[in-house]
Symmetry: C2
Subunit: 207 residues, 2 copies
């Protein structure tokens, strides 16, 4: 029996930071875009702060002029993409707890991990809930049926901490320096404003 066509196509790697609004926009779109081209998406949350130590970048809101514009651009882009946004009162945030929660699940149940990532993004960017706290991360996970006590214990396990560190290290080795960041058949794309190129790359195989 012939394999279905998507068995021949590698998944799209999708790197993002839970504190990144442009990552949030991309998260709302990438699965649908990939599906149009018979692709799945390999979601990979990372800690951009650790990446910025390598690249020497500063978080956007701290840069003169650019910071004010970026807030405006984020609100306007949310409306442009048709994605709900309530500007978080705390921004940026550390996202160690959400990342660890994701990696505690992803090997066992990748689809549930993606649903958790989407729910965490919605909690932070549409409901202004501070997902940097373990409590809120556990609340969001619990709503998806993930046992609270089990996850709470898992978040402090050394193996999970190591897993997150090695995911971030791997991302830096692959050249990831921002969020969102996509790799399609080895081709890197940075930014939610490259989704048009990401889609054309999948459709055409490159240009």
């Amino acid at each position: 029996m012939a394999k279905p066509i998507d068995a021949y196509l590698d998944p799209v790697d999708f790197y993002f930071d839970f504190s990144s609004p442009y990552g949030y926009f991309a998260a709302a779109k990438i699965d649908e875009i990939a599906a149009r081209h018979a692709r799945t998406v390999n979601w990979r949350p990372i800690l951009l702060g650790a990446v910025f130590k390598v690249t020497g970048q500063q978080p956007l809101p701290t840069i003169p002029l650019k910071g004010g514009y970026s807030k405006h651009d984020i609100e306007r882009s949310a409306r442009f993409f048709g994605v709900p946004l309530r500007v978080p009162s705390k921004f940026p945030i550390g996202s160690t707890a959400p990342c660890r929660a994701f990696y505690s699940i992803v090997d066992r149940d990748p689809q549930l991990a993606v649903r958790l990532a989407q729910a965490l993004y919605t909690a932070y960017f549409a409901e202004d809930r501070d997902i940097s706290t373990t409590e809120v991360t556990l609340d969001v996970a619990e709503k998806l049926g993930i046992p609270r006590n089990g996850l709470s214990h898992a978040l402090n396990e050394p193996a999970l901490k190591d897993r997150l560190r090695s995911e971030v290290d791997d991302a830096v080795v692959r050249g990831v320096f921002g969020s969102p960041y996509f790799i399609v058949d080895g081709e890197p794309f940075w930014g939610s404003d490259r989704l048009d190129q990401v889609e054309r790359w999948m459709a055409t195989g490159g240009w």
Copy 2:
């Protein structure tokens, strides 16, 4: 007699640096996009180096990881936009001479000034000619019928130097921090990857 519709619409302000590849892509597209919505474009070359002194930014190629990616993104985006590109052997360059040449002409003949800007961009990004030198700027201008001696003298006039300084100062006051940068009816957009939003803003009046 009724005025033509474009008499009621303000021009789009288009800020760019002659050393900016994304400005070059935008320069190839913005007049056509604006014309679809009965708009003209107010071309405004600036010196991004002077702007970066305010914002503390570094030129893209100097940032670890991001620099390598940006070179790749520039070449790929040129093909995506269908714009000829030969990566300049000297990059970035100072663009005082091209900017002054532009402002020496724009009040008297704005259309010629735009054609000069386009020719200078083509010389730099498609033909790898170093337009930072007065000689090459004069060569490009001469091809458009601009008298070489007259322009050569003009480039050193204090009034023209002041003009460029005040254009850059005005741009910073308006919040311009990158290239390309567009202002449509007071609404700011940064980057060639915002051309889709620029166009939708002109089409809809905002969202």
